[in-house]
């Protein structure tokens, strides 16, 4: 019989918490041992959820990139006096799509704030990004909580 990585890590965490840490007399070392247990538990959850989270992130990034392309296309065709969507925004969206990583949304956000965060297109883009970021942080909280 073998254990998955996350099961092994979880069991190690339990052993440290229930058997090793309480047997340590020195207060500092005992606290450190309990920290090992906490960290192993987090790593166990991470190992368990990584594949699921990566797949969800990739899907979210693709959907977000589509939404942002649509928002920017609409802004470019709109006849208003507020100027064109800067090239940096479009480039940042393309970069995020190629990276399939939500981390690349930082570049888009910086480009949007650098442009005009109160422009209707920027507001729509930020709203779409924030929806994706909420989903991302909720996934991360499953591990951090």
């Amino acid at each position: 019989m073998s254990l998955d990585d996350h099961e092994l890590l979880s069991r190690l965490a339990d052993t440290v918490r229930t058997q090793i840490a309480p047997a340590v007399d020195d207060e500092y070392a005992r606290t450190q041992a309990f920290m090992v247990s906490v960290i192993l538990h987090r790593l166990a959850k991470q190992a368990q959820l990584t594949d699921e989270h990566c797949a969800a992130e990739a899907a979210d990034v693709a959907a977000l990139a589509d939404q942002l392309d649509a928002v920017m296309a609409s802004a470019r065709t709109a006849a208003d006096d507020s100027g064109d969507v800067p090239e940096s925004v479009g480039n940042a969206v393309a970069h995020m799509r190629s990276q399939t990583s939500i981390a690349a949304a930082s570049e888009i956000i910086e480009a949007l704030y650098g442009w005009d965060a109160s422009h209707p297109a920027a507001e729509s883009a930020l709203a779409a990004i924030r929806f994706a970021l909420r989903r991302d942080i909720d996934r991360r909280m499953e591990i951090a909580r």
Partner: protein, 353 residues
Amino acid sequence: MSAASVRGEGPDDRDLAGVLGEYLRDRLGASGPVGIGSLERIAVGWSHETWLFDAAWSDDIDEQRQGFCLRRDPGNALLRQESDLAEQFRVLRCLESTAVAAPRAFWYEPDPAVLGAPAIVMERVVGECPSPWRRAGREYYAAAAERGVLPASFTDALAAVHNVDWKAAGLEFLGVPRAGSDFAQREIAKWQALIDDSGHPGHPILADLIGWLKHNAPPTDQLTLVHGAFRTGNVLIHDDQVSAILDWELQVIGDPMYDVAYMLTELNREGTELLSNVVPRELFFDRYQQATGIEIDEERCAYFQLLYAMRSAAFWMSAAGLYADGSNSDLRLARTHWSVTVALERAATELGY
């Protein structure tokens, strides 16, 4: 790198009592050896080491005895960049002539070879400092709130900080923001620098938060001394009165609402409506505004609470970085890798998503 090697070539902690006795002999004007007793390191915060001890000596007239506190910079602690001991010493000396309850600082020793690390020797103030993050601490503050003395004293202590004539006290060296939104922009830049130094890859929520903070930075119409971390757990209490405000590490000249926001934030109270676990909101508003003449601006406080979200993220990124780069082996710092996520989740919530 071990903590010892960061400190440099100094005396071993096992010799610390002897080293302190020697260090204090001339400074106290002792006619003979200075006896050091009850030397203990206390576990407070993650920044500097704190040691308490009693010194006993004779001068030409009498037997003397006094309690002291030693703070040392081990060179690898959290927020070290923001809390230089030389600056702390200077601030404490400036505060001696004011109504602020702060420990008297006697000596600053920059040479790590003398006391094992750069250090301040200061007055040991009578009082206790229950942790508000533990149940016993929360029960302590709840009971004190019932008695009603500490809430008033706690509020008065903050008012005293904001009432300091900082120019007269010589605190301009902390840096004086220009008119407009310079104070907020300075704070953003400070925490951005800590994030950049941490080596953490960052996260888009942080980019959003920083962008929002920069675009919405409020003007500051009144400058005061700002403590930067005024809450229970950072003050000593004796007989239900604040006997000393501690942790002079993040002080600035700035917007008093920065401290008030820290009082109002839910971050500093767990399961209670009492501000900082001890002060009823109405009492705080009435007493603070009366004592300072400063009207509490809740909109500006809401802005600064978002700035605190950025600061929290910066703290945890810096803490996790200290473990990641091998400069500090404390596993509490390793755990803060996930505290960054918690801080970012809070920021997202406060930004409305």
